[in-house]
Symmetry: C2
């Protein structure tokens, strides 16, 4: 299925490219309006800025809106700057308040202010409510357009309210239940509502609500929505008064961005702010060079360690041969442990206060791995070189594996405990640390066993 | 908010542990039945096998079912083996067909067969339908209990059908529209239905359907559902006849598992099949040791390369000092590129046929990074040692960065093109390859410049 879609995409891309090259706008219009919004999004994400504006202008109004909503905020910002003021104002008025806020963040302040002022008063208020929360908080990403009910309304009365909000509520499938102080005291699903006796009050069939505060980070809130596997999560202020709603589709958008950021950080680079092929080479270089330099400076530790043991190396050049193997194995062991624990943290399987349990496990895991690898290393090096070298390699592998697993497993927990992003205590740093300490251990063991 | 929950969890865990130790079953029952199902799940995932069965038995029937559904299949399997036959049969009959299939896969074949035969005939048929698809396919994970409508039914008639399926359909918010051959010709949301005139036919307001085939891998199907940000995805056979439905909450379960697997594979270990703290140490060791050994064997390549250049090293021991720094930088550069491209592949931003574009970009990115790092390395090494060493280090950094970015960026695409999991062409392999070739480049440059 997937393959069929990509195959037909190929032909579509070609005919679009041909129409663009030949400036055949009517032909282009026919082609792009036959595509589904996800197909158009896919295509324009891979185009240059100018072509993107051309294609976008040719879309029918409804499709243009859907495509626009599906683009990254950075691409939205670029696109808007290529459109005429009236076109932007119309598009902007049609967006949902949460999408509007994302776009406003991408635009120059003057443009943003002008757009906001062009909105009808009610829409402006809704947008301003979302704009009031700090950057990165779920308050910025929630929708202020929700449908609600009250404990003493009947199922039939609630159904009536739902019908009135059919067109503008972000979701009608999950309804927060509010008390007289607008505090969330329950939640009912549309299915509950349809199942209930028409005259029974909401309080009879509402569930205990799961809510999050608007100041929580967008990523944590989205993760919570996904973890609970619910369709929508009410967002509240610090007195549990309802201020917005996060639907699972918006949560998925947020998580998609967050996962790209995490993946980038774990490999030691800054996240790209737009699709790979639409990112200029110099931006990609910029996203990677700082961490590479930082890590390279960190790696000069290993140069210093080796310089300390230069005399030992001169006496026994054979020790050099094993350096990449030993530090590589240490790095791999550390990364395995760090990745397992980072993932367990993300899933809520472990928490920072489990650090003693995790340390105890990783010491046992690391020493078992070290025993296995050390034995293999001892046997191989003894056969190829001599038993003394074999002992050095075997003992070093044992020590490095134990240390690397312990350090790798505890780093994410320490990161989380001091409220740093666990991904910042990332794998390359563990590698650098394990490299340097591993070399020290190696030469100390070598000096002891070989008497140099 | 999150912090408050964990704090109260701490006290709960303590009181549960105390009650378990004192065998105070009535007290324990009160405590655990006051918790929400997600809290109970969190708690039992961190318990030993026996305590888990004790706690589970004390839950009220509805809560027990919800908790059971929230557990990993492996833990479900263990739990079932600790319960009495009648208890298992009752629980099993209450599960949804897709959950039942997941559990059956975890149980010994005889137990599985007995459980299946104990089901009412209709439930057995539904379960068998799901069991007919291959392991790992979405057919195994979909729900066969869907609500559907037809193009010539009216909105009011469809609403009537929905009311009849309120209790047993997996979702009522997304309804596939079928033609007389059960082929999916459209989809309507419950919101569309409520918005439509009661007498208008479904064909007037249905949308074009997004569907996937039941033989597609569960991960691809779940990813598609999440990418489309839709609440449910109809699953069809190869003639687009409806066979099941995948809801976004089930898609999220599938993706959670898939992400854990990918994270594990990228770091070179096998995924754990249950929560970290519930996994025995020997299973963790087993999940890591094979890859560590494979990677260590791969790393013996570096030993061989260094052995070839042993004479050069004896003449210039100073060259040894930079080995970890150079191969570390190469590894980091390769990992950055591989991670960026793997992520872009997962998001559909690049496809295997973009390999030329990707190669062209990564050569430019890598050489720019190499130019920057090489200049810094040249300056630093010239100051600390001499200009000749500076030139060797600078040129080597330039070559290694260019090569590593190119290899790292193309590996995931090659992996995808030959239909291997891109995560199998994982970062540690790139590192091993870049280590060995980087060392060769280093010594060739050193020999040329230093005339040794």
């Amino acid at each position: 299925m997937n393959e069929e879609i990509s195959a037909s995409d190929g032909t579509i891309t070609e005919s679009v490219e041909r129409a663009l090259a030949e400036k055949d706008l009517p032909g282009l219009s026919t082609v792009v309006n036959r595509l589904s919004p996800p197909q158009v999004i896919d295509m324009v994400e891979r185009m240059g800025v100018k072509d993107r504006a051309v294609v976008f202008r040719l879309l029918s109004k409804g499709k243009a809106l859907e495509v626009f909503e599906g683009l990254d905020a950075t691409l939205q910002g670029e696109l808007v700057q290529g459109l005429k003021d009236e076109e932007v104002a119309l598009l902007f008025a049609d967006l949902d308040p949460d999408d509007r806020v994302g776009l406003l963040d991408e635009l120059p302040a003057t443009v943003a202010r002008r757009l906001l002022q062009g909105l009808p008063p009610q829409e402006r208020d809704l947008t301003a409510a979302v704009l009031g929360y700090p950057h990165g908080s779920i308050g910025r990403r929630m929708s202020p357009e929700y449908a609600v009910t009250y404990p003493d309304l009947t199922a039939a009365q609630t159904m009536e309210r739902v019908r009135e909000r059919l067109d503008d509520a972000e979701t009608i499938y999950t309804l927060p239940v509010l008390d007289s102080g607008r505090r969330v005291v329950g939640v009912v699903s549309l299915r509950d509502l349809m199942r209930a006796e028409p005259q029974s009050p909401v309080s009879d069939f509402m569930h205990a609500p799961e809510v999050v505060q608007a100041t929580m980070t967008a990523e944590s809130a989205a993760r919570r929505c996904a973890d609970l596997k619910i369709l929508a999560l009410p967002i509240v202020d610090n007195e549990t008064r309802l201020v917005g709603i996060l639907t699972v589709d918006d949560a998925l958008w947020i998580l998609e961005d967050a996962e790209s950021e995490d993946a980038a950080r774990i490999s030691g680079s800054e996240p790209l702010r737009r699709p790979y092929l639409a990112t200029p080479v110099r931006s990609i270089v910029r996203s990677r060079v700082v961490w590479l330099l930082v890590l390279a400076v960190g790696a000069t530790l290993t140069v210093q360690v080796l310089a300390v043991f230069e005399a030992t190396l001169e006496q026994m050049v054979v020790l050099t041969l094993f350096i990449p193997l030993l530090i590589g194995t240490g790095g791999n062991t550390g990364n395995q442990a760090a990745t397992t624990v980072t993932r367990a943290l993300a899933l809520g399987d472990v928490r920072p206060r489990d650090i003693v349990k995790v340390l105890a496990r990783e010491i046992r895991v690391g020493s078992s791995l070290g025993l296995l690898l050390g034995t293999v290393g001892f046997a191989a090096a003894s056969l190829l070189y001599d038993v003394q070298i074999g002992m050095v390699i075997g003992l070093t592998l044992f020590s490095i594996c134990t240390m690397a697993a312990t350090v790798g497993g505890s780093m994410p927990l320490i990161g989380k405990a001091i409220r740093a992003d666990p991904a910042v205590f990332s794998n390359p740093f563990i590698t650098t640390f394990v490299d340097a300490t591993g070399l020290i251990v190696y030469f100390l063991i070598a000096k002891a066993i070989l008497n140099i």
